[in-house]
Symmetry: C2
Subunit: 414 residues, 2 copies
Amino acid sequence: MENIKKIKGGVLAAKGFKTCGIACGLKKVKKDMAIIYSDSPCSFAGVFTQNIVAAAPVVHDRNVVKNSESVHSIVINSANANACTGDQGLKDCHETAEYLAEKLSDENKKIASDQVLVCSTGVIGVPLPMDTMKKGMDIAVKHLSSDMKNNEDAATAILTTDKVKKMIAYTFDIKGKSVSIGGIAKGSGMIHPNMATMLSFITTDANIDKETLQKLLGSSIRDSYNMISIDGDTSTNDTVLVLANGESGCEKLVEGTEEFETFKTAFDLVHKTLATKIVKDGEGAGTFIEMNVTGATCDDDAKILAKSVIKSSLVKAAFFGADANFGRILCAMGYSGVHFTLDTLDLSFSSKSGGIKVVDKGKPIAFDEDLAKKILLEKEVKVLASLEDGDGSATAWGCDLSYEYVRINGDYRS
Amino acid sequence: MENIKKIKGGVLAAKGFKTCGIACGLKKVKKDMAIIYSDSPCSFAGVFTQNIVAAAPVVHDRNVVKNSESVHSIVINSANANACTGDQGLKDCHETAEYLAEKLSDENKKIASDQVLVCSTGVIGVPLPMDTMKKGMDIAVKHLSSDMKNNEDAATAILTTDKVKKMIAYTFDIKGKSVSIGGIAKGSGMIHPNMATMLSFITTDANIDKETLQKLLGSSIRDSYNMISIDGDTSTNDTVLVLANGESGCEKLVEGTEEFETFKTAFDLVHKTLATKIVKDGEGAGTFIEMNVTGATCDDDAKILAKSVIKSSLVKAAFFGADANFGRILCAMGYSGVHFTLDTLDLSFSSKSGGIKVVDKGKPIAFDEDLAKKILLEKEVKVLASLEDGDGSATAWGCDLSYEYVRINGDYRS
């Protein structure tokens, strides 16, 4: 860990990547299109929504992950999800990829359409306006650069109801070579990832093959995106994509080596950081809730218990009211479908204002309601459910349920 | 069906039952205790929450259902759920049953404590104040009567955040004998029954044995309480109890006979009516949503699809905004875990203001947004998802997600 340093730069932290974020007219005024690009071909990996109503770009990208050896670019638009758009939606994806591949190619470098990944987020059920998309790509390719400002533009262009940009990057040494990994993400509503989250894009200049990268990604998402929930709704467009161009010049990462472990640690940190950033910017979210379960029968059981709590509308509403409503937490654990022994359960709340135990060996204990209120009024609150059924533990992240969530989703056709 | 008539009376519609609803002091002013009583011993049945953090009265009643041949009475208190109250909670249940059994016994009639069922609803994690409970029972037994006004008092006394009383009764002829069945229920928040709902009490003067009644109840709840959701939270206290005292003088109901089918039809009607009444009075509910799925692979798949839609926070918020957001409905079906063919799916909305088709063979179709708004602004809206994967069909009932839901649950420690 001491080798791994947090740095600025998001998707531009790694060498050899360019990006941009522009306004092409899908939104009224705001930025709505981003491109991520590497001159060198990238090893890559992707995980996608398990929703069977998968959006067209998800179908497109799944094929690319399955069939292509390498990619050069990702094009992302916000404001239109290209979901529930039938055959036309898929055609529009192919056309987008072809158009951009052509734009990015020149006499020295031929980029194929199956080396371009396509992502969309926004309103469901409206065909993608292809003229606007093409005009956007015309402009965007001219703006591609590794200027740090462009990372912020890209992080902005992929947002919908999000309030803040989400980016992170780390750097570390691999046998004397400086390697970086960083990413940008968007989230906010329809967030209850199953195998992936809304949209998350990671770049690295590490040297790692496609198969290893895919395996690593599959494992990393289980403790990051798959452990967050804003509203229990799994999107049609959830996508995490990782591009690795090897430009750090470091030697190829091999499983089982110390170098691989260093990379894995940074890789997991990037995903966990972006996942928690998504929750902190959840639609209408005022309180960030970290739910810890220890002593469960196994890790998988602990995960189910922790997620059941952060998904509960009643628990979420209690946090909105800063109410130390431990009964609703026990209730949500109780209906999770996982067995646990109530008689050995301890429950406590903590935040930077202090900590307070509210349940001891399954029984409510008298506690200072004023202190509890103070603890729960903080922006970030931790809950610990400590069991004695085994060694399983897990952490899940969620947010409160507010008037603002209802307002946003009563108005916004997403 | 033409034989079955809706009548007034709730739990007093059937002969030989008495009830009352009084204020014993668990709530500040309002009624908070009800007793249902039959002089004759009753055949009975019960189904309970599957939440493993089951409240003490659920544990108590499960034992009664398992071990007792007949019961005479149910005592219900609101304001305190006697949940997460440890061993003391269970002791308090036994003491309540013993105390009431004693009160209801005289030299001619000995009622045992295991012939008394106990139900509670309200705040979780606070011990039941037994002095208040006993004083309440002292008063309540004196008020027991078959006066129709008492049914309303009982239906009122079991409420918490509910706004309206929920009662229903039907009568029908069984070989010349007039038989009745009726019930009262409460529910409002923490409503996502699994095997049962919040609290629902049914009485009948039919002659039916315990085993048959339990089987009938198990089947009836699958299409009634188990198909509603207000907030996706399965309570610690969900309980449905049915008492049958045989006082109609009708002959014993035997499966496979026409008489049994008549009783079953009325029985199912009572449960379905109470279940939909619970949803209509959901916390903060403004729109009652009926989600119909037809043409699914099987009925079980149709149920999962229908419930996934009414559970979705985003779908619920869209109804709050009267937004014909078919994309969120398809999305919720997509992540339900059940397979269906999107390419043959039709989707439409209807209410007393008309009907409108929004998806045809999986593709969005242009529709009149003004008409859609008008349809969705009605208090009761139906959604029909018509598939071509098989003969499975199901209906689920839910409600919108409103500011009011958040307000109630940010304030109320339940």
